[in-house]
Every structure is written in structure tokens, then in C-alpha cells.
Homo-oligomer: 365 residues x 4
Amino acid sequence: MSSNFGEVFRISTWGESHGGGVGVVIDGCPARLPLSEADIQPDLDRRRPGQSDIVTPRKEADECQILSGVFQGRTLGTPISIMVRNTDARPSAYTEMQTMYRPSHADFTYQAKYGIRNWEGGGRSSAREAIGRVAAGAVAKKILRTLHPGIEILSYITAIHDISVAIDPLAVTSEAIEANSVRCPDAATAAAMIERIKEVRSDGDSVGGVLECVVRGCPRGLGEPVFDKLDADLAKAMLSLPATKGFEIGSGFAGSKLRGSEHNDPFRIVDGQVRTTTNLSGGIQGGISNGEPIVFRVAFKPTATISRAQDTVTVTGENASLAARGRHDPCVLPRAVPMVEAMTALVLVDHLLRQRAQDALPREE
Amino acid sequence: MSSNFGEVFRISTWGESHGGGVGVVIDGCPARLPLSEADIQPDLDRRRPGQSDIVTPRKEADECQILSGVFQGRTLGTPISIMVRNTDARPSAYTEMQTMYRPSHADFTYQAKYGIRNWEGGGRSSAREAIGRVAAGAVAKKILRTLHPGIEILSYITAIHDISVAIDPLAVTSEAIEANSVRCPDAATAAAMIERIKEVRSDGDSVGGVLECVVRGCPRGLGEPVFDKLDADLAKAMLSLPATKGFEIGSGFAGSKLRGSEHNDPFRIVDGQVRTTTNLSGGIQGGISNGEPIVFRVAFKPTATISRAQDTVTVTGENASLAARGRHDPCVLPRAVPMVEAMTALVLVDHLLRQRAQDALPREE
Amino acid sequence: MSSNFGEVFRISTWGESHGGGVGVVIDGCPARLPLSEADIQPDLDRRRPGQSDIVTPRKEADECQILSGVFQGRTLGTPISIMVRNTDARPSAYTEMQTMYRPSHADFTYQAKYGIRNWEGGGRSSAREAIGRVAAGAVAKKILRTLHPGIEILSYITAIHDISVAIDPLAVTSEAIEANSVRCPDAATAAAMIERIKEVRSDGDSVGGVLECVVRGCPRGLGEPVFDKLDADLAKAMLSLPATKGFEIGSGFAGSKLRGSEHNDPFRIVDGQVRTTTNLSGGIQGGISNGEPIVFRVAFKPTATISRAQDTVTVTGENASLAARGRHDPCVLPRAVPMVEAMTALVLVDHLLRQRAQDALPREE
Amino acid sequence: MSSNFGEVFRISTWGESHGGGVGVVIDGCPARLPLSEADIQPDLDRRRPGQSDIVTPRKEADECQILSGVFQGRTLGTPISIMVRNTDARPSAYTEMQTMYRPSHADFTYQAKYGIRNWEGGGRSSAREAIGRVAAGAVAKKILRTLHPGIEILSYITAIHDISVAIDPLAVTSEAIEANSVRCPDAATAAAMIERIKEVRSDGDSVGGVLECVVRGCPRGLGEPVFDKLDADLAKAMLSLPATKGFEIGSGFAGSKLRGSEHNDPFRIVDGQVRTTTNLSGGIQGGISNGEPIVFRVAFKPTATISRAQDTVTVTGENASLAARGRHDPCVLPRAVPMVEAMTALVLVDHLLRQRAQDALPREE
């Protein structure tokens, strides 16, 4: 049950970094959606390794194949199975992982939990696992756009290491984000970030950062109090991604330093609609979307696998030192952008369909 | 499905702030656990209103009653129904909520989602809803202590408004936390925090803050990759509480500014056990507990309902001004402490039972 | 998770026959449904003990109380908690159950599973547990009637012991069913059935029988292939009721003796609609309702608790003989009628809301 | 969510009869189970078409491939993805299904529900869908045998059309069942059944029948009252298989004609164990296994697709006549045997793991 996500639009992902491949089964996708591999591949391409000179050079085309659930170009309402083969797996680069645990990686905890682990690469804890999420997220995005044409989900980097920049979530564009390899929409900051990433890589080290995500045009009324609040489900979705250490929505941690009179978002009638004049709530109040842009941030730690020597232990219980080989991202954030968007789309489409189910009786208005 | 939480140890909470009462049904509680109201009441008392001079004066004894699932002092393995009656409900104090939406409260979004809302108080979005969580959390804590006698869950306030203090999660004690009404284990800081809360209340205003939680003695191996990672489920649990704006584990947002070589927790063999010499991971790696203390922080916004006049709109679409009456906490954090502990216990007990189910086959060791 | 039923319209029942009471929490009920105790009480009255001279004389008014989820006569979209107190519990009548297992009752298996059981009556395995189902079923029926005014769910007895009668599911009426205490719509057969039940009761014995249920006016398209087929969910719902031994839909077991050319239901266009000229399918094809009446039958065994002496064993492992005291139904079927209707309504409303969620995209037609 | 089955050992199946293939993802499989394709293929071979002269001649090797979740011959505790490619798909044989609905098949209801259907064969309603179930069932069986070496699940045919035979569920062997192509362990009856199947096939017709299943050596205490009773989950599992019309456990429908004194299974102490001297309960009491053999029967209707001409309608609403082409089984029962065993194993392993989770506290005994 741990590789299932969603209540009505439910995905089951599978696959290890080294093995036959990775994939996803989507259950609960509405019928009659036009769908082909061409809807999915662009997001996979934004996630795949080897796409730029600041990510891992592992060579994977990550070409997806739809195996079921689509007939003559439209979804059948039956499960959609999507698969990507692993092609450039090099288990030989990981032989030292057979005998040692990488510090702050999942090697030790997987062994503790399961009594076994696939030491040829990250196994299930690898970022390759996210391929299934990104593929399903592309389907989710298409449903969202079909039902709410104005909806836009954009995520982008606002900090790498100690280089940060404030981005206006109302104005940011996909073009600006995709204009550089680090996916920070501010070109000057992006250049500095790229420089920093290259620097730490040449040091055999890694860096973390902060990613922001905005959903513009989200309909009101999504989110299910009390446990499945929209922000609670987004928090879970984000913390389920590898290397994440924090989540905040709207004002976030900084909001805890304000008074109520400063923090509350006043309501005003604008063009006959109830709107807020500020958005410290981040588009969600009481766990339900209020129609304002949803804005949240995710903290990513520096990549755990580095080539510098570190203290660790062997699987047989001796202290040791490890300088990891293998091909790794010096910074996970650029490739995390499509993952965050995918998880956001998955949360939103599930809540949208759930709200359709619940909102069954006629309204007076 | 929105008021259900947990996969194996599953709770269903119910109730509004104004109505017959609030409660919880626990499904999946192991049989043969000694249990009575006396196990539950202490945590409810830590949550109840009127417990000190910095919380709402609403007078509720919050006495719980176990209606099923217990026989001759032990659990039957059948659902445990626990109820608390509402006694000091004063809907008349909320008549203005009938016609206006409180800024940054859930009034507007509930109306948008459901087309109806209980305007006599916060309804389902009230902090009274947490009574069911706290009651179930007390049961969860007792199971955890029975199966892992060394386990301790402690949460405490580290910041109120701009007053903050660093607390050592390894050393903090329940006694120090409960020694003052704000539940900050540092006495001097607590006094300043209490002063600040009284100050803003007399201003008709409110403040937020940050709460930290530590789990000591948690067994290794809890957490289910990839979606039900232990930190992901904790993040959801925390963001499902009212007034929360952020969650971070271990190094959190600050960790995003470190290099991998600084952030990784080196492994060492200590007393024959694999331990880490630092704990920036916060006790969870790859979504699975590693046996080190689990440490996370939650950001709470200032209470939305304040008595100062604020811009808002009426339910019929006119701009208006609202100075809220009713009895409200000027700061939610002191009463959030038992809520956070309860949600933490619910996440842990669910994962502990899930791990029992999965770890079915003999281990070589 | 064992006392939860439904995916979108989800109920959690609780309670033992002897204890504080029994009840249900409904999560996922659409908002704005007019609802009060008066909508629920009639079905509880059809289930309650003491309603006629062929059922147990235990005196329970079974008056229900709605504790949450309803405001000013309409549902809020929040969980609806409904409770019925136990009043005429007589644990003293069950002291022998403390030391012996009733043959074919749940005493032994509960002890084997849980290592504890409430021996004061049937505990959780008592028919009182069904109160929560019947109450939730009444809410489900009201939603169904609101969304599909023509829908009717009727169940009735077609066999008691070896007395049986064929009833036309297209013509049967609620009035005919409720016209006698055994709830068989054929008056003459009903009289014979009642006679038989009284006979076996005076013998210290019990009888079983067969119940049929028809759903008329069910919309097409309900049921979720492949596991949550509508007939599969009905089968589970029925077998989850105490004392059931079998379920069959449409032609059932008899259908296994036909050839395909005899069994297939030919399609014809009638009034512009696709209809079948026979209904051996019982209204469901491929797990999905086809718009024809849904017809199924449920086999109930004779009540296990009888006053005749029977061979059994003690809890300490000695052979023994037991002649049960306590107040028991000589035949469970008359009171099973509202239970079957309730479970049917719960299955249908859940699938109706699920279909609303899934059928999200525009249809060409 | 409709293609997910199980709570703790959860499978997600996918695939249509004509398309890329069919498969299953197993989530929640315990780690460290020795597993390879060789454990799965034998059951797939018992299900596959073309295995004898009384089943469809479609030529599919149904060779399975494990794509994830297994490392060096043992399960990792991560999702196990298993795939079988479709190779002998002949959509051209189904062109008439594009314009007409087969009577009593799922064509019409799929169209009504989804507004689209894969008319190249049965699509998702095809018996090929069961491949995922059978593959997952083989994994489930291996876990069951590992944890309870004495457990045996055997299913066999007891009736084809009006030819039936009583089989002793305590004595039946796998060898006797597999000794003939119809899988009836009584050789003489089997010969007559095979004759009958060939006869109706040459008539362009089909037949149904009854299948019995026995589980010997099942541990006590499996099944979760009240909704997830073991018999309720078995009923759902069976009715989720194509062409099933009924389910009965133990005495079944015939049991409804007995008196309590005849139907109750007396308890006796045998070799220090609580046993029953009869087994009309069919091994389950109060929804929980009691340690006696679990015995149930499933009714299958005659195959819907026949080559005789039948009345039907076109997709555009005209009356028509259809004599189906394509390759179909004249009787589904022989190939249903491994499907029933697989679904039984899936139900049992899920309940076994759930019981492990719940039975967490020490027992007095």
C-alpha cells in the first residue's frame, strides 16, 4: 500500500534504478481523455538524466510506452499502465555499496527495514522511481487543463545553497523557468546558481536549495477537512519526494512571526467575486482552496551521494571510509521541478474528482 | 473519507464545536490492551480550553466516555468509540459569523465547498475537532509504550512571535514542558512568551509561533517508501492540524544551505550498533526511521479570529468590517502541544503495525 | 479497517450488544441533504427487537440521536455521527457463555482471534451491530431517492425452512411486504411461515431461509470493474451480515444449468432505449448495472443460539453440554429485511458517487 | 481504485485482451521471499488458452516477466511488477462487436458507463484480465506455504450443465484435479463433462457449471469482523471473476432448509484442540476462520459469446441479429480453477498479514 497514492485517481508506481524498468499504473482516470505518449514524454524529458551539464550524465532516453487503458487515442476508463525501460544501468559502479552504507542515504534504513536491499544503485530510493510519478502527473495535468482550462502549475528554483532570489508567483512563466538548466526564472541568479553547482561538483561535493511552486487558476472548494486538507496532502506529496526536508505554504515559517492583524488576508469584493487583498494563506484556508494562487515552498537537502571520503560503516559492522563512485547529481533541484509539478497535479486531480463525487446535490445559488 | 486517518490503526473523527459533541471511532486497535478513560483524560485536559490564563476561557470539562470496544478494562479488538459532549456552547456569540466571513478563517472556503456551514462557532474547523485526535492519540501512545517501553514523544514551544529559544531535543523533559502554561521548557523564555501573548490579547490581536517535537526511542524500520514515508505521513499529520503553515524535519529549510559534506550524518559503530554521529536527518532516512531521535518542527500562524476590526465581506457580497466576538485563543500553540503529540503517536502506531504485517518472513540474522 | 465500509460514502460502525450503545459515523455524505432522526427511525423500527411475536422479546426502543454533521435540518458535508443507547442489556442471562462456546456462533472464533471476547451477549457479533448499518442505510436511501427519484430497494422473504414461494420482483410492493411480521409478500405463505417459526421456537429450535432483494429504477453504469463490480460489492455486503451462507444474482446457481443460448438476455430497442427481453443477468452485466431491475437472493442459516441442549466445549478445554438461555430470534430473516436493504443502499450510493467522480469528461452523445 | 484488491497485500491489475499486454503490480509483499518466474508460470499455464481441446484455441504462451521488486532471487519488499505480453491478438475477428453488443456480455454496460469501449475482443472484461490475478495469486500462495507449510488451496469442478458429482473436500488431491482437462477429480464424471462441452460447442452454444474450493490447513483467526469477514471477502473475490452468478459457503443455500439443531456444528476436544464434529459452517464462523477446512462453491453461467445467432441491438439503436465469430471457450470453468485459487490465496494472505498487524500484544496463554 506504500506505493499507492490518491483516493479516486490512484497511482501505483513500481521499479528500481537497476532492474527491468520503472513504471506506473493509473487507476481511476476518467474515460474519453485524448492521450498518447506524446502527452507524457515532455515531462519525462524535463526529469531525465543527461539533459544538461549540471546533472548526472547517466544516459537514459526514458522513452515511455502506454501498455493499456488507451484505445484509438482515448482513455478507456480502465487502468493505464505506463512503462520506461532502464537501459544505462551500471551496477558495477556500485559494488562498494554492497559492503558499505552511504551516509544520509537510504542504504542503511532499507537494510534495517527489509533485511535486504538492491545495492546496485539506489534501488527503490533512486530518483528514477519518480518516473512513474512524472508520467502519471502528465496525465493528471491534462485532465486538469481539460476541466479547468485556466489552471497552471509552475515550479521553479528560488535558492541553491546560499544563493536565493524572490520570484513573483503571479508573474512567473514557463518560458523563464525553462530558459536555463537550473530552472530558476531569474537569469542572473540562475547563472550564479549554475556556477555554484559546478563548483561544488568539482569539489566532490553537493548542494541543496529551495523550490517554489504556484498553482494559478485553481478552482475553489478543493481539499477535504479534516485529515485530507489540500495543504496536508500537498505536504505529504512533497515530503514523499527524495531529499526533501521541509514544506511551507503561503507565509510559512515566516508567518509564525506575524500578528493576526498582519497575517489575516482581508476579503474584498472584486468584479463580483470574493477575493483576498493579500495571500499569506497561500491559496488555502481551512484546508480548502479559496481561488487565490496556491503557493508553497519545498526545502531539498544536498545530494547524499558525494565523491568525497566520508565516515561510514560496513554491513558487517566495522567503521570505514567511503568515497562514492557512480554518476550522481551534484544538486537534485533542477530535475525536481517536474517531480513537484507532477505530485501537485496528482493531488489536485484527486481532490477535483473527489469534490465532484461529494458535491452531488443541487445548490440553492 | 476525509475524516479517516491511518491504514491499519484507523481513526474516524466527528463533531462540530457547537452541536451534540465530538468524538472518535478507533478501528484496528489491538486486543487485550488495558484501557480506561483514565488513560485518555490527562491528554484531553492538556488540550482543553480554560486551562490557564493565556487560552480561551470557554468552560469545557471535556470529560470523555468510552462507549464500546473495551470489556472488563481491556480492549476487545473491536472499534473503540469515544465521545465528549459539548457543554459550554454559546452560539449567540457567533451571530455575526452568520452574515460575514472571518478573514483567514475557514468560513468562506467551507461555504464555497459545501454550500452550507455551521456558523455557530468554527463548526468542523474548530480546534474542538482535535478532541477525537487527542483521545485516539492517547490510546496510540499506550500501545507504543507497551510494545516499545523506551519510546517517548515530547512536543514543546520553541518560538512565540519573535521570541525564540533553542531546546536540546535529547535532554528536554515532560516536567520542564508542563511547568508553565505556554509549554516552553525554558522557564525564562516561557515567561517572556506568556507576557507577549497577554500583550497581544489586550491589543485585540493574536500571535503565532513554532513548535518542536522529538520522538526518542523510536524503533528502526518504520515508514513505507515511497509515498507513505514516515516523514511524509508526519508532514500530512501536522498540516492537517488547524493553523499550521509549515513542517520541517531535521535540518529542514536551514539544511538547504549546507553542502553534502556538511549535511550528511556519518555512521559509526557505537556499542555494537550502527549510529550516526550527527542527526541532521532528524531520525528518518529514505522515509524510514533509523533509530536516532526523530525531530521536526511545525509553524503555526497567529489565530485568525481577533477582536480588532478587519476588512471582510458579507455572505451576500458586500464589503464590510468585522470585529469578532466569541472566546478565542490569542495563540494556539500551548494547546497544540498535545495535538501534535497525538498525531505523532497515531502516525507511529500505524506504521508500527504495518511493519509487523510486512515483516512476516524469517530474517537471516 | 474492518468496521469501515465504502470508498467515497464511507461508514464506520461501532458497538457491542452489551455496553454503552451502538452507532455509526458516516464520512462523505454530500452536503445540503435535508436530514433528521425522523428519516432514520422507521428503518430502525423495522429492525428492532420486540416488534412482533416471532422475534426476540428484548425491549429496545432503539431511538437514534444525530450527534454531528447536521445543521438546521441539513447535512454539512462533515461526518454524521448517529448513536443508539443499549437499554435492556441483561448480561446475567449470558453467564454460561463465559465458560462455554455456543456451537456455530462466533464465541470460539472471537476468542481464537482476539484472545478476549465480550461474553455478555453476542458482543460485536450480535445483530445489534447492524443498527449502525441500518441508520447509515437510511441516509443512503435518502440520497439515492433525491438523485434518482424512481429508485426503489425492496427486500422480502421467499423461503423459511422448507416453505418457499416465488415472488415477482417487478410487482412486489412495500405494503405487501410489511403486511405481516415475517415480511413475505404472499399472505398465505407468510401465515405458514409464521406458524413454522412458532413451532420450532416451542421446540427450542430455530430455522433459516432465503431473502430476495430487488432494486428497481437503478441507473445504468454503476459498478467498477474489475474488483469492485457491483455484484461483487453486493455479495460482500450481504455475506458481511450475520448468519448469511450464500448469495446469488439473477439466475444464480440455477443459471449454471442452462446453455448460453437459453441464458443470454437478448437486447431489444424499447421506447428508444436498449433493454433486455429477459433478465437472467439480474440487472448487472460485466459488473455494471444495465438499467434492468437488480435481483439477488441471500441464504440465511438457522439462528445458532437455541435452547435445546447441544454438545460443546468449555473455554478451559472440556467437553460439555449447553442449553442456551437469553432472548433470541428463532429466525433471523424478518429482521434481516431492513439490514439487506440498508447494505444495498450503501453499496449503491457509494458507486453512484464514485461514478460521478469518474465520469468527469464531456460525452459525445 | 477499481483495479486494486487487498488492504495490506494489495494488487493493481491492468491490461486489455487486445493491446500491449496485461499485468499486475503487487504492493506489500513481504521482503526476503525467494521468487522467480518459475514460481508463477505453472499457474499461468493452467489458465492459458489453448491448453486443451475444450478451451479457446487462442495461442498465447502467457510467459510472464518480473520487472521489479526481486533482487538476486528474493523479494525486496518493494512493488513487484509482473507483465505478460499479448501476442495472438486478432482484432479483425471482432469487427462486428464494433457495431453490435453481444447479449449478456459487458459490451453494452461498458459503453453505458464509460462512453467508450475497446471492441477488439473483450477488452478489460476479457478473461485475459485474470492473468494479473493468477500471477499475484502464485506469489500469495508461496507466502502462505512459507508461513503455514500445511496450507493447501484446491479448487475443482463439481458440475457442468446438469452433470454433477459430490467430491469429498477432505480427500481431493491436486493430481486427481489435474488428471483431466475439465478439472473434475472424478474421472468418470469428468469424461461425461468433457463430452457435454464438446457437444454444446459443436452446437455453437455454451454451458456453465459449479466449482468448489477447499482450503485445508488454514490457521484460525483470519477474517476481520464486521465488514471484512473472511467469507465476505471471499464472496467479493469470487463475484469479481467474470461469469460468476453465485457464492455459497459451507451448507450454503441448502443450509437454509435446516433447523438450528441440525445445522450447528458441535464442538469437541480432539487431541487437545477445539474441533467441530461437522462442518456445515464451512470453516468460518462469525466471519473468522475456525481451523476447519474452508469450503465454498461458485456458480458460473454459460459463456455469453456463442456462435449461434441471437437477438441484439446495434450501437446506433437498431434491432439486429448476431452470430459471434472469434475464439471463445464453450465453458469457462476449466480455466476458472486457477483463477479461483488465486483469488482465494490473495484473500487469505491479506488477512494473514492483517492479523499479524492486529495481534500485536502478548497473549496470556
